[in-house]
């Protein structure tokens, strides 16, 4: 056997390495799975909704204010479910935006590095709690507590569901806003301090405006969590589809209705069952809309340094 030294080798052609090719194909297939899942969700929701809209007019769906698909005389107006979703989301945001931003500003501008490193991950645990546990907490801890403050509050209501949902999304808002604020260059703060501003003034007039795109993104992420949240409202919200004008009422959200039908024993393919896909379509469009708004706002207000 001759050793390789001195043997002329052909460096002009490349050996096809099938192992490499196969791995590359596998890697691509795995990544493409994400696209397949999105397409799968859109396909199922749209095609099943199409069957629904073949029997129920789009106009009734959008304009009727009664949602009673399970009654003898069914009516399919999405409005009650949408008001339920908006009301619970609004309550959640009313809790989470102020608290989340307070925490974010405190951690980013006032707290020591050590405090921040301890509190931030601990707060993130709030987002890890199973939502059904939150549902139990809303129904059996927060509602009785609220009933002491608001006499006559029904035991199922969107207020306590929304409040607990707000607590759940605090970490989304706090953590992501804090990241955005910390990304603001130190020099900007120092400029502000040099002009004699206090930390608070710097936070509100320099840091938050500079980080606004990240903060808005964080709020919208929290919001789409709240819109898509199911178990808390199913357990504590009451599952009664009515047009909600006051958070102390009970009501059903889009998600709560979908879960409620799935818990029953309606056969797949009936008009009643298909109504959950129409509700799902509304939910999909709603979250898509907010994602687009977030995307637009982030572009519009992006400050680059």
């Amino acid at each position: 056997m001759r050793s390789g030294v001195g043997v002329e080798r052909d460096f002009t052609t490349r050996k096809v390495r099938w192992g490499e090719r196969i791995m590359e194909g596998l890697l691509f297939a795995a990544a493409a799975a994400a696209v397949a899942v999105v397409l799968g969700i859109v396909f199922v929701v749209v095609s099943e909704s199409a069957k629904f809209f073949a029997q129920v007019s789009m106009i009734e769906f959008l304009t009727s204010t009664t949602w009673t698909p399970l009654f003898d005389n069914p009516q399919y107006g999405i409005a009650p479910l949408l008001t339920g979703t908006f009301m619970s989301t609004l309550v959640a945001l009313a809790v989470a935006v102020p608290l989340g931003l307070l925490v974010a500003i405190y951690l980013s501008e006032f707290a020591t590095a050590r405090t921040r490193e301890t509190i931030k991950p601990t707060l993130e645990l709030l987002a890890a709690v199973p939502t059904v546990v939150y549902g139990y907490f809303a129904l059996l801890f927060v509602t009785p507590l609220l009933q002491n403050i608001i006499p006559g509050l029904p035991s199922f209501n969107l207020l306590s569901a929304g409040l607990v949902m707000g607590l759940m999304i605090i970490p989304y808002i706090a953590s992501l806003s804090e990241d955005a604020m910390r990304a603001v260059p130190r020099a900007m703060r120092e400029g502000s301090f040099a002009m004699g501003a206090t930390r608070l003034e710097t936070a509100f007039r320099v840091v938050v405006p500079a980080a606004v795109s990240g903060v808005v993104g964080a709020v919208i992420l929290g919001m789409s969590r709240a819109i898509g949240e199911t178990m808390i409202v199913v357990v504590a919200g009451g599952q009664l589809p009515q047009v909600v004008t006051n958070p102390t009422q009970q009501g059903a959200t889009v998600t709560a209705f979908i879960a409620q039908v799935a818990l029953g024993d309606l056969p797949f393919g009936t008009l009643e069952y298909n109504s959950i896909f129409a509700a799902g379509l509304a939910l999909l469009l709603l979250t898509l809309l907010f994602n687009l708004v977030a995307f637009y706002l982030q572009r519009r207000f992006r400050e680059a340094y």
Partner: protein, 398 residues
């Protein structure tokens, strides 16, 4: 020209008007920041202590090893934690490889082209899709389409159709895959970040000595990225463990008094012969010889009971229900994925939800107990992930 009052300028510079108030506001803000933080942390404490006070006293061995029951005093979570374990195992086996490979592809391989941007957009959007929509997708694709092969793809070979009908539908496999797709973005994003953190020099060194791209990735990038990936996987799995809504959509059961896997010594009821969809014999006149292992009775197709003796062989008509006791061979056979993947299931969050929606106070107690178990497991998993991330940041300095 007015003379400058030097003393006044000096006063203002040293003691600006309103400074005390501004400094006070600054301090006051710290107070409110701490209050907000305490509300957040207090929620965690309130959650754990509320569940503990309501259900802590129910955490007995009997609770962990009992089946659900109409009597809340006897009910337990055996079928739901075994169900959760099997579903999560399936989820992990799907989500970890797919998520890791996808993350590696996007970081190391993906060319800049429309397909890559489509994948990136898909990953980013998936993270924001409400979990219940994953449930709707699973109903359409896994439960209805793949679970009803006779209706949707009758042209395919029978063996394939039977396998599809057995495995999909309202099964552990369906639940596992659905949750895997749900946590896919978490695993992908964690993998990408971890892979991105590996310095370029390591790749260059490997490539320079003749390693192929995949060898470089496999032997030199992945080992360094692994702890970061594990962090993401733990967070994803803990999310899947607490997820309820998509599994309700799929049809996770609320009352399961059997296990998808058997242990030696468990008794089982088996109906012999070829059965139709209603459980009746296709050919009522056919018989089969069966060797009975235990004294007892068998139930004939007309619902009469017939006493039988152990060790005897009987000719029984198809449709007869025979009690058998699982031996080690049966038990091991039942642990094969082919056996349990197609089984119906319940999971801990569904069990807890079911108990929460009952009016009796005793059921609320066991709901709290189940919730406490669930909460402690997910918090521990997330704590482990945080600790791992912290260790990682400390130990690796490139």
């Amino acid at each position: 020209m007015a003379a400058i009052d030097v003393q006044r300028v000096r006063d203002i510079a040293e003691q600006p008007p309103g400074l005390a108030a501004r400094k006070f506001k600054d301090r006051a803000f710290i107070f409110w920041g701490i209050v907000a933080t305490i509300i957040g942390l207090g929620t965690l404490v309130a959650l754990v202590s509320d569940l503990y006070m309501d259900g802590g006293h129910r955490l007995t061995p009997a609770f962990f090893f009992g089946f659900p029951s109409a009597n809340p005093a006897e009910a337990g979570i055996l079928s739901s934690w075994v169900g959760s374990l099997l579903v999560i195992l399936t989820t992990a086996l799907v989500a970890i490889p797919v998520g890791m490979l996808a993350g590696v592809y996007l970081e190391e391989y993906a060319p800049k082209n429309p397909m890559t941007s489509a994948i990136e957009i898909a990953v980013n959007n998936l993270a924001g899709v409400p979990s219940i929509l994953f449930g709707l997708m699973a109903v359409g694709i896994f439960v209805q389409f793949l679970g009803n092969p006779a209706r949707y793809f009758s042209f395919l070979p029978e063996g394939f159709r039977n396998a599809s009908a057995d495995l999909f539908g309202q099964s552990i496999l369906t639940a596992g895959i659905t949750l895997a797709l749900l946590i896919l973005p978490v695993v992908i994003v964690a993998t990408r970040e971890a892979v991105r953190g590996v310095p370029q020099e390591i790749r260059h060194a490997a490539l320079a000595v003749g390693a192929t791209k995949w060898q470089t990735t496999q032997h030199h990038v992945m080992p360094y990225a692994l702890p970061g990936v594990v962090t993401g996987v733990i967070i994803g799995i803990s999310r899947a463990l607490g997820e309820t809504a998509p599994l309700i959509m799929i049809g996770g059961l609320t009352f399961v008094a059997f296990l998808p896997i058997t242990l030696p010594g468990d008794s089982r009821f088996e109906t012999i012969g070829v059965l139709d969809q209603y459980g009746a014999a296709v050919d009522p006149t056919a018989t089969e010889s069966v060797r009975i292992t235990h004294d007892g009775v068998v139930v004939l197709p007309d619902f009469t009971e017939m006493p039988v003796q152990a060790g005897q062989t009987y000719d029984l008509p198809h449709g007869t229900t025979v009690q058998t006791v699982a031996d080690w061979g049966d038990a091991v056979a039942s642990w094969s994925p082919g056996h349990w993947l197609g089984s119906e299931f319940t999971v801990m969050p569904i069990q807890m939800f079911n108990w929460t929606s009952r009016p009796q106070a005793e059921f609320l107690e066991i709901a709290a107990a189940a919730g406490l178990v669930l909460l402690v497991i997910t918090l521990l998993m997330n704590g482990a992930a945080i600790w791992l991330r912290y260790r990682l940041r400390k130990s690796i300095k490139w």
